[in-house]
């Protein structure tokens, strides 16, 4: 529900379609951007910058997943495979052809998007649970193809990807890459927000709420669904390419089914909206960092498994957190955030 501060009126169409309405919100936005792009890289250590870069990349990927799940109401269990497709496409272009990131990244995004489109074609006839299974099957087939790609994908060895360069300036440390990743993440959030206000975005929401009713209203359901999958894997491709060039080496271990499930978990925790996706990513990544901090203690608790204790504990904890959110907070953190916001907005007259 759109609640606006008292006394804010729209007088023309420009105001009506503005994303940021009041001066107060402009100030907040400017503060947020200044925090992200000036204060944080200035203050934070390399480790924190690395964490934040990962968060930014994941935000891009999870927003893509949100388009399919939260906005179109389809379920994709193969998002990590689409990320892998983007990462490998960009990596192969840079490794075999030697082209720069600025050409390979869009090409990778496009090829990953087309792959998503192909996977979604069965959506013409199937829906709900079966489309989820199709994406799961696509995950197995894509990952198998990458693993058995021989010298083209360097299956088990891993593919190396070049640094991103602007002219002769290489983005080769955490701080420099952070700016690129964060810029793209902010751009993605902005683009997605706008996308949901266009005809395509509204068609997706209609398909999510009831696809039969949507088709009676003249929405081409099939086209909407495959557009959603195309966009979703496009985002995944961008995120994958970023990850490939950030880490410098790509292996199949970076894109497991577990990663898809993590991203699904982020969406459950955040809730079905853009801000929800961002919250979900932050929540999960911060949780992960907390568990890494507790690692010595966990290792002591399970002496049998010193090496894998943290991973195992993380999985155990992850399962419990997801179930907790499903049962007690099914609308996610975004809903909680809305409640807090409306308390502030309505204060001191809470009705």
């Amino acid at each position: 529900m759109l609640r606006r501060p008292c006394g804010t009126f729209d007088e023309n169409y420009v105001q009506d379609s503005a994303l940021v309405r009041t001066r107060f919100r402009w100030t907040l936005l400017a503060l947020l951007l200044a925090g992200l792009f000036i204060a944080f890289p200035w203050l934070a250590s390399n480790y924190l910058l690395d964490v934040m870069t990962n968060i930014a990349i994941t935000v891009i990927a999870v927003l893509g997943l949100q388009i399919v799940i939260g906005f179109t109401g389809q379920i994709s269990l193969g998002h990590a495979a689409f990320m892998a497709a983007g990462a490998y496409a960009s990596g192969m272009i840079s490794y075999h052809l030697g082209w720069s990131f600025w050409i390979s990244m869009p090409l990778a995004a496009l090829s990953s998007g087309l792959l998503g489109l192909i996977v979604a074609i069965p959506a013409l006839r199937i829906r709900g649970f079966y489309i989820a299974v199709t994406t799961l099957v696509a995950h197995f087939i894509i990952m198998w193809g990458i693993l058995h790609g021989g010298n083209v994908t360097m299956g088990l060895v891993g593919l190396s990807a070049d640094d991103v360069r602007i002219g002769s300036f290489a983005l080769d440390n955490e701080r420099r890459f952070y700016y690129l990743a964060m810029t793209l993440a902010v751009l993605t959030v902005f683009l997605t927000t706008n996308l949901m206000r266009t005809r395509i975005g509204r068609a997706m929401l209609a398909v999510r709420d009831n696809d039969l009713a949507a088709s009676f209203m003249g929405i081409n359901v099939f086209r909407t669904k495959i557009t959603a999958f195309f966009l979703s894997s496009l985002y995944a491709g961008v995120a994958g390419a970023l990850m490939a060039h950030y880490q410098g080496i790509i292996t199949v271990e970076q894109f497991t089914l577990m990663d898809s499930i993590w991203m699904l978990g982020m969406i459950i925790i955040g809730g079905p909206s853009i801000i929800g996706a961002v919250f979900g990513v932050f929540f999960m990544k911060i949780l992960h960092q907390i568990i890494l901090l507790l690692a010595p203690w966990i290792g002591g608790l399970f002496p049998l498994v010193a090496g894998t204790a943290v991973a195992g504990f993380m999985q155990l904890f992850f399962g419990a957190v997801i179930i907790w959110f499903l049962v007690f907070e099914p609308r996610g953190l975004a809903h909680r955030w809305q409640i807090i916001l409306s308390i502030f907005r309505l204060w001191p007259f809470p009705h």
């Binding site: 379920i75 577990m258 499930i261 195992g312 399962g319 499903l326």
Partner: protein, 295 residues
């Protein structure tokens, strides 16, 4: 020809276990229309638990099996009360995520308590090869297939001949109607999870006689059930049977004939390719119900 027959027979025999896995998923889906993504983890977890009882704590086998059954019942009760009951009426996504999260929880627990490979249950029969005509088949595989057939038969008898089986069939048709006829639907849910987890345990124990106990292959076995039920149709027991055998044969044929060309491992992906093609032509599986919806 001999090679072909041998591959075919081996495929059919391993298909028996796959069919059993499919059956477990069908039971849960029929009663509660939830697809159980935790099945793979349940297969592994129950097998690890039996290993812990028999090998780890030296519990005699006549006590270990009832303990495992009791534990299975406890798990199904808890799953029903804590996870599924609060989610009744929620979206498909919630139901799917709930079972995935359950699977991750059990996976994490298994990794923490039983790390690394190299566990074996004491063998049921000595390793032996049985010759049928000119085809050699391993004794374990034959035994596995026999046990699976017995399980199938027992379940079918239970499902079609007993009073509770009737309640389960009624619940599968319509929850409201079953409830109004005096069937306790939540009890049916608990029992169908109980039966499904028991079947998971049986499958895991059978497979561990071939590959030993480690998480990944057992989890993979449970997930094969996914391919089986999608192929055969989510609501059909006959579909699970046929789907299991088909998936087993496809897997065995592809590892026999394609592996030399692609450098191994085609058995992991061949069933899924068949599945994708099947989904294109029969979107609800071979024997699934095609639901007609009204707005």
């Amino acid at each position: 020809m001999n090679f072909f027959l041998e591959i075919l027979l081996n495929g059919l025999l391993s298909g028996g276990v796959y069919a059993l896995m499919g059956l477990a998923l069908v039971i849960i889906y029929k009663s509660s229309s939830i697809f159980n993504f935790a099945h793979g983890s349940l297969v592994a977890f129950t097998t690890f638990l039996l290993w812990q009882l028999i090998v780890g704590w030296h519990v005699p086998i006549w006590l270990a099996v009832p303990l495992l059954v009791a534990f299975t019942f406890l798990v199904s009760y808890l799953v029903q009360r804590l996870v599924l009951q609060p989610l009744i009426g929620q979206s498909l996504m919630s139901a799917i995520m709930a079972t995935i999260a359950l699977g991750e929880f059990l996976h994490g627990a298994a990794v923490l308590f039983w790390p690394g490979p190299g566990r074996m249950l004491p063998p049921f029969i000595g390793a032996s090869r049985v010759r049928i005509g000119s085809i050699a088949v391993s004794g374990e595989a034959l035994l596995n297939f026999a046990v699976c057939s017995v399980c199938f038969a027992v379940f079918l008898a239970f499902f079609h001949k007993t009073r509770f089986g009737l309640a389960m069939r009624g619940t599968a048709e319509d929850h409201m109607l079953a409830e109004s006829e005096g069937v306790s639907v939540s009890r049916v849910f608990i029992v169908s999870w109980f039966v499904a987890i028991l079947i998971a345990a049986v499958g895991g124990i059978l497979m561990s006689s071939l590959f030993g106990i480690s998480f990944e292959p057992l989890h993979g076995l449970g997930m094969k059930g996914l391919a089986v039920v999608i192929f055969g149709g989510l609501e059909s027991i006959v579909g699970a049977m046929i789907g299991g055998l088909v998936i087993g044969v496809v897997e065995s044929l592809s590892s026999g004939y394609f592996d030399p060309y692609v450098g191994g491992g085609s058995a992991e992906v061949a069933p899924y390719i068949v599945l994708l093609v099947a989904l294109l032509f029969r979107p609800y599986g071979l024997f699934g119900y095609q639901r007609i919806e009204r707005v």
